[in-house]
């Protein structure tokens, strides 16, 4: 049964879902009037699930993903990640959260152009407890995503699919519990996109990841355990797929 998150556990006690969104709303002021991007969204995500946030362009799924990633804050509501209420955390604590517990993959890869693949993957390690083994960890992660022969290549020397794999390696190198992906195949051709999704699935099984993918593509959504469909900022309904 899908939990919609109405019974939130007490703060700090991990006794249930990995992610709990409780009445999340987000609005932005525009010319003195608030624009409601998200309205009262509540859901739970269990550890190990692969969840798809599905909605058309402008539905608010990227905003919701941003809130889950800790790079945006809700206007109201609560968000509990791994038993910790992250609503209202200051920027420093959010940064720690992003570094230690979350991994984020973007549609446009967002690699640092002056660094090699190896260096791009190393970057988050130097502000983590794994700084001493940064090089080795990054190399292992690149192996895992099948890019061991591309370590010294800079982003402009890699194909789109390869860049996205580097981005995935970077997102996972700090061993986060949750991987968040915003339209990860949006800039890729269908064949490469499939490969990336296969990679996601493989890594999820190998590393026990919880995966949240924001997408407008139903085909991608079809590969998830569960779909959260968002329309005009509201969580319209959720559905589950056959267990994968």
């Amino acid at each position: 049964m899908l939990k919609t998150g109405s019974e939130a556990p007490a703060q700090g006690i991990l006794a249930g879902p990995l992610v709990q969104a409780i009445n999340i709303s987000r609005s932005l002021p525009l010319a003195g009037q608030p624009i409601h991007i998200l309205r009262d969204i509540s859901f739970d995500i269990e550890a190990g699930e692969m969840v798809a946030l599905v909605g058309a362009s402008g539905s608010g799924k990227s905003t919701l993903l941003g809130i889950l990633a800790g790079i945006d804050a809700p206007s109201s509501g609560r968000l509990v990640i791994d038993g910790e209420d992250v609503t209202g955390l200051n920027e420093t604590k959010l940064a720690l959260l992003r570094n230690r517990k979350l991994g984020i993959v973007f549609q446009s890869f967002n690699l640092i152009p002056t660094l090699t693949a190896q260096e791009n993957v190393e970057i988050p390690l130097y502000v983590s407890p794994y700084a001493r083994e940064a090089r080795q960890r990054a190399a292992r992660m690149l192996d895992l995503v099948g890019l061991s022969d591309r370590r010294q290549h800079r982003p402009h020397q890699l194909s789109g699919g390869q860049q996205q794999r580097v981005a995935i390696a970077r997102a996972l190198v700090t061993e986060p519990k949750i991987l968040l992906a915003d339209e990860p195949t949006g800039n890729l051709d269908s064949h490469t996109g499939e490969q990336v999704l296969d990679l996601f699935e493989s890594l999820r099984q190998q590393l026990g990841l919880t995966l949240v993918i924001a997408t407008h593509d139903n085909a991608i959504a079809g590969r998830a355990n569960r779909i959260l469909r968002i329309t005009d900022g509201r969580l319209l309904h959720t559905s589950s797929n056959v267990e994968r």
Binding site: G66, I71, A95, L115, I123, S128
Partner: protein, 832 residues
């Protein structure tokens, strides 16, 4: 984060390389700032050492002793006894001649010497150091011990092309007949760092002056613990006059303090200009990396991580820029020190303080970090959400202002350290800030009026230029302020120099009339006149001069029983061609003499003249004389008793001097003087041109020095213009891509750009010239002596504006050129 320090250094280095032209611009800004600071500091140190050195070095000893007449051997022995008694540690008898001219035989170039000193080379100097070089013997004694040899300072040697062993001739207008000397040494450093001097032995001094009592003062150093005041009082009682080095006024120090403050202040302002350029560049550079900063924040980087990471990059940039700046400072300060030394016969050695260079690198890095921090703090405002949504980075002006003020504190520490005083450190910043505010307001208002009201006459590019000026008015304002400052400095320097040159020209005598004179001995008269005739100069006049041993009053004048002093110089004429007489007719009394008109009637006074050989003659004062104004600087001085040629040559003997003067066409003047000099190597040939060159030479050198300093100010303006244009090209790449995509050629794009910067340059330079005129009026009111001398004339003003405009447009073109060559598809693909 400590684990990844090498990673971050590599990251910073790669980012710097990747920044390309933007990094180069920033490096250049840092280099300019450090160059200004170090060059000005180095120059201030060099000049201060010279000007504010120990006053005893300037005097030649702690005390100078002299008497009414030249010193006798008994006078010198009296001072020698002070050393024997332990009251002084050293003494230096000196025989100084005044107004000597120096020339190589047969040369057209002549030098007026500031000082010619006869010394005991085994003793001199008793304070400071005198160093020889350029192939000279190691000591002064070795160089000039032989009578007839001389050591000249380096500037004279360079000017006259003298080497060891060369011969030169010296003489003056009064008592020194042309005298040949051989160069025995070249002096590269003197105790007081003053140049334009020659040194010879006391024996040479006696031969030169044709008298045994050539010594005219003695310099002494007191023994420690001695009551020098009491000893000086005793000496004064026995006819000595004393002058102590410590009596030299404190005004020199005050003037030097102000000069130093101005030099160092100019360096600080250069550093400030560089810093503003760095801040400007870094703001744009980091604005282009918002996504990168957002990525880092998304990955867990906090603000202080970003400060360290980006701070490393800025620090590297500062290091490279500072190294370049110090290297440039080495050459710039060398050039400025050389130019400054030419303004006043100063033997400044162009040395570079490498400790100062290291300090300059440190200050450059610190300053770059301070100004770079402004951009880093603003950039760190980027939110990670930037990656999902294009959000504008909020610029909170209040925060920005607070940040700028906060960064002013460490920069004040830098200025305090450089200037050595917290008041001056704060003062220079307040002056800079105050100037920025005032200039910014005035120029900003001017720009606002242009933007609002400039008629475009339906000229599309002008309308575009106006719009573009409005878009980035703050950045453009900085460039205009710098341009304004450069044109103002150069313009005012030009006005001062023009005024000074005008005064020199006005006072310069005509080069026609008696413009050629030859100094020799009376015994050479026939040969000299033949040499003149050989050059086609048929009209000549002559003066005869003799230095006698004494002129004593034998009987007093009528109605006056005072005893007067008459000097010991006799002047002779065949006819009174250049004097006006009052008294007896010329030639009416073969033993009659005329005195300069002192306003007393001394007719009838009898004088006994004793020649150097001991012969005596009694003469009578029969009137007075005054020199006519015959318009020639070569004949403008004459002193002593005037009498007949026969009497002078009789009493002067073989050492009687002769001056023959003639008139030559200007086109033949140099050629004629050279030929006469070559035909008679032991005479001194002087032309009006030589005289003019001497008088105007220093003004000309000062002009060059002032222009060089003003040039640095203009360079500051151009640095900011290049920075502004370069950054604008980066900001406007997408715009240029779109324009090119719709059919604009690179010339169209350049045209718009040149119009914008042309308008800025016009506003800045016209404003600067108004500032110059205001400064001229203010000066004339404050300093009455400059009234009517300083003025800004229209041709100069127009030329200044055109020059500023041209230089700005060339700089803008160069800065934009590369960006203009890029294809539209490339520009449109690039992330902004």
């Amino acid at each position: 984060m400590g684990q990844g320090i090498f990673f971050y250094l590599g990251y910073s280095f790669k980012s710097l390389i990747n920044n390309g032209q933007r990094a180069v611009l920033a490096i250049f800004c840092v280099a300019f700032g450090v160059m200004s600071l170090v060059a000005m500091q180095n120059m201030a140190e060099s000049v201060t050492t010279v000007v504010l050195g120990d006053p005893a070095f300037r005097l030649g000893g702690q005390t100078e002793l002299n008497r009414d007449t030249n010193l006798s051997p008994a006078n010198i022995a009296e001072i020698a006894r002070l050393k024997t008694d332990g009251k002084i540690t050293a003494y230096n008898p000196a025989a100084e001649e005044y107004g000597l001219k120096l020339k190589r035989p047969g040369s057209a170039s002549m030098a007026y010497i500031d000082k010619a000193i006869g010394v005991d080379p085994t003793i001199y100097p008793i304070v400071g150091q005198l160093r020889l070089g350029q192939g000279s013997p190691t000591s002064l004694a070795q160089a000039i011990a032989t009578p007839g040899t001389v050591a000249v300072t380096r500037d004279i040697a360079d000017d006259q092309g003298l080497k060891i062993g060369d011969t030169l001739v010296v003489s003056n207008d009064t008592d020194i007949a042309p005298f040949s000397l051989k160069v025995g040494g070249i002096v590269i450093a003197t105790p007081d760092s003053a140049g334009n001097k020659i040194y010879y032995s006391l024996e040479t001094a006696r031969q030169l002056a044709n008298r045994q009592d050539a010594v005219n003062y003695i310099q002494v150093n007191w023994a420690p613990g001695v009551d020098s005041a009491a000893i000086q009082a005793q000496l004064q009682n026995s006819g000595w006059r004393t002058y102590n080095a410590s009596e030299q006024s404190a005004d020199a120090k005050k003037g030097m303090d102000l000069f130093n403050f101005m030099l160092k202040g100019a360096g600080i302002l250069g550093l400030l200009v560089g810093g503003i350029g760095v801040a400007n560049t870094m703001v744009v550079l980091l604005a282009n990396r918002q996504k990168e900063i957002a990525i880092l924040k998304t990955l867990g980087y906090r603000r202080w991580h970003l400060f360290v990471l980006l701070g490393l990059e800025v620090g590297l940039l500062g290091l490279v820029g500072s190294l370049l700046g110090v290297a440039l400072a080495y050459f710039v300060s060398g050039g400025l020190i050389y130019l400054f030394s030419q303004t006043g016969s100063i033997l400044l050695e162009t040395s570079f303080d490498f400790g100062l260079g290291l300090l300059g690198i440190l200050i450059g890095i610190v300053t770059t970090l301070i100004f770079g921090m402004f951009a880093i703090v603003r950039a760190s405002e980027v939110r990670p959400m930037q990656l999902l949504r294009n959000l504008p980075v909020k610029i909170r002006w209040f925060q920005t202002t607070l940040l700028a003020l906060a960064l002013a504190v460490p920069f004040t520490l830098v200025t305090t350290f450089v200037l050595g005083s917290i008041e001056q450190g704060i003062g220079i910043l307040l002056i800079a800030l105050g100037g920025l505010v005032v200039l910014g307001s005035v120029l900003g208002l001017a720009m606002w009026l242009i933007i609002k009201a400039l008629p475009t006459f339906r000229f599309y590019f002008l309308a575009m230029a106006r719009k573009n000026l409005a878009r980035r008015w703050l950045v453009n304002l900085f460039a205009m302020i710098a341009l304004f400052t450069g044109v103002l400095t150069a313009g005012f320097a030009g006005v001062v120099i023009q005024g000074a040159q005008g005064q020199v020209d006005a006072r310069s005598p005509a080069l026609t009339g008696y413009n050629l004179s030859v100094y020799g001995l009376a015994s050479q008269e026939t040969t000299l006149k033949a040499a003149f005739a050989g050059q086609g100069i048929t009209t000549t006049q002559a003066r005869y001069t003799a230095l006698v041993k004494s002129v004593e009053q034998t009987t007093p004048p009528a109605n006056n029983d005072q005893t007067f002093y008459f000097g010991n110089v006799l002047n002779g004429r065949e006819t009174p061609w250049d004097v006006t007489l009052d008294g007896a007719a010329w030639g009416s009394d073969p033993s009659g003499v005329y005195l300069p008109d002192y306003g007393r009637d001394l007719r009838g006074t009898q004088l006994t003249i004793t020649s150097q050989s001991g012969a005596t003659r009694t003469v009578t004062v029969v009137g007075t004389y005054a020199l006519k104004n015959i318009g020639s600087p070569l004949l403008s001085e004459n002193s002593g008793l005037l009498t007949s040629k026969d009497l002078v040559t009789q009493l002067g003997g073989p050492q009687t001097r002769l001056l023959v003067a003639g008139e030559v066409g200007l086109d033949r003047l140099t050629e004629t003087s050279t030929k006469i000099g070559q035909s008679m190597q032991d005479v001194m040939v002087v032309t009006s041109l030589d005289y003019n060159n001497y008088r105007t030479g220093r003004v000309r050198n000062f002009f060059i020095f002032a222009v060089a300093m003003a040039g640095l100010a203009i360079l500051a303006g151009l640095v900011l213009v290049a920075n502004t244009v370069g950054l604008a090209m980066i900001y406007r790449q997408r715009e240029m891509g779109v324009l090119k995509a719709v059919g604009y050629t690179r010339w169209h794009v350049l045209k718009g750009l040149l119009l914008e910067y042309g308008i800025m340059a016009l506003v800045a330079s016209i404003g600067a010239l108004i500032g110059v005129q205001v400064a001229v009026i203010a000066f004339s009111k404050l300093e009455a002596s400059t009234d009517g001398i300083l003025s800004l004339n229209l041709p100069t003003a127009v030329a200044s504006v055109i020059l500023a405009l041209l230089v700005t447009l060339v700089t803008a073109t160069m800065a934009a050129w590369q960006a203009l060559q890029v294809r539209p598809s490339t520009l449109l693909r690039q992330e902004t």
